[in-house]
């Protein structure tokens, strides 16, 4: 275990160079660590963490080592400490406010979805352009017109937007969102957005996901022939 840390900036965290695929795994590590914490576990080894997620121990160690030395040889990683550090990497150690834009069937469900909360997010506002939707209430959130978005964001209350409008208007609405100086968009509309580089976008096309599944579910396409005994397998 090298002590000088020469491949990283000496006093701080590595910045700007981690691949998206690594970051995705970090999310899974955090999710697993939270489960371990609930079960009262206080340490975990890279092998155990990997096994639970279908990854090799070396992969786990490499991923975590990008951000510093958290593990203790002979012991493993301390669950609470590592979880805390991962949250700070994601920026979810402090709660972020989120807006839902587009309150159709999907948007209104995402508005009610409780899964965000456990991860350090809070949906605090909803916007739509249809007059029929404006003023409607979901729980304690009232749907506001798009024209109010910029004001709410500028008041510092919202960092991220969940975009759930029809494909035909998604590009236009996304541009409005950008003008409100939001930092990132979770895009549920089935189109590729074209936006200025200072705004982050993560696409989530549910129909595409189901299409992927349909492909995999065709036995002649998958590599699932390997291991075709009866051993269990973990999802990608």
């Amino acid at each position: 275990m090298k002590a000088d840390g020469s491949h990283r900036p000496p006093g701080g965290e590595r910045r700007g160079g981690v691949s998206p695929i690594t970051v995705k795994r970090l999310s899974l590590y955090l999710r697993q660590l939270e489960e371990l914490a609930e079960d009262g576990r206080s340490t975990v080894s890279s092998r155990q963490l990997g096994k639970a997620l279908g990854l090799t121990d070396a992969q786990v160690r490499k991923d975590l080592a990008y951000f510093g030395q958290f593990g203790r040889p002979g012991v493993g990683y301390r669950v609470a400490e590592l979880a805390h550090h991962l949250r700070s990497i994601f920026g979810t150690d402090t709660t972020s406010n989120v807006a839902v834009v587009g309150v159709g069937s999907l948007g209104s469900a995402l508005l009610r979805y409780r899964g965000w909360m456990t991860k350090g997010f809070r949906v605090v506002a909803a916007f739509d352009s249809a007059p029929s939707k404006i003023g409607r209430k979901f729980g304690n959130i009232t749907v506001q017109p798009m024209s109010k978005l910029a004001g709410v964001v500028r008041a510092g209350q919202i960092r991220l937007a969940i975009l759930a409008v029809p494909a035909a208007v998604a590009q236009k609405v996304a541009e409005e969102i950008c003008q409100a100086r939001i930092e990132g968009i979770l895009n549920f509309a089935p189109i590729t957005l074209s936006l200025p580089p200072e705004v982050a976008v993560i696409p989530v096309d549910l129909a595409v996901q189901l299409e992927q599944l349909s492909y995999l579910a065709n036995p002649s396409n998958s590599k699932r022939k390997r291991n075709s005994g009866s051993r269990r397998r973990r999802q990608s």
Copy 2:
């Protein structure tokens, strides 16, 4: 352009060896082709297709060449023909029936979501174990008890399941779904399922996606410094 096709099985499609990441892009090609078809375009080049999705032309050609020779030098790809071929690769040239398992806030929204239809899927049934939910109607779909799942699947009406139950029961419910001999599960529960290899699983953890976005939206983490002029950029 080689004519003998020596690297593929002579008379048929390549089977079993395409990486998931390639398959994901194929979905995007299909989505784009459908938009082009609506606009009345009859051919498209690899460069145009790539530009719309933020990919290189070489990438597009390599991906498509895995499955055969569809392009015409000097012309490009024929939109309708290529779209049809991609659908047959995904198994969505014929409509697949899908069940929603778990009718909470997210499940009921996925039940009502219209986006599946355009892609060759039809949600035809919903299941839940809570007596209070059973018998409830969403559109023309009545929520049935889990015990009915196996029968409906075995009657050949359902290939795929959308799993939208709480994390705490997801593994158990997923096992029930497997026993019903379903081919694939789209897993919205925030856990990694451990299942026999003959069933395909695609995980869709919405909280993880938002976490990814939170990471990317932190300016010091992204590579978005490149191109930091004002040119537009396409989402990953």
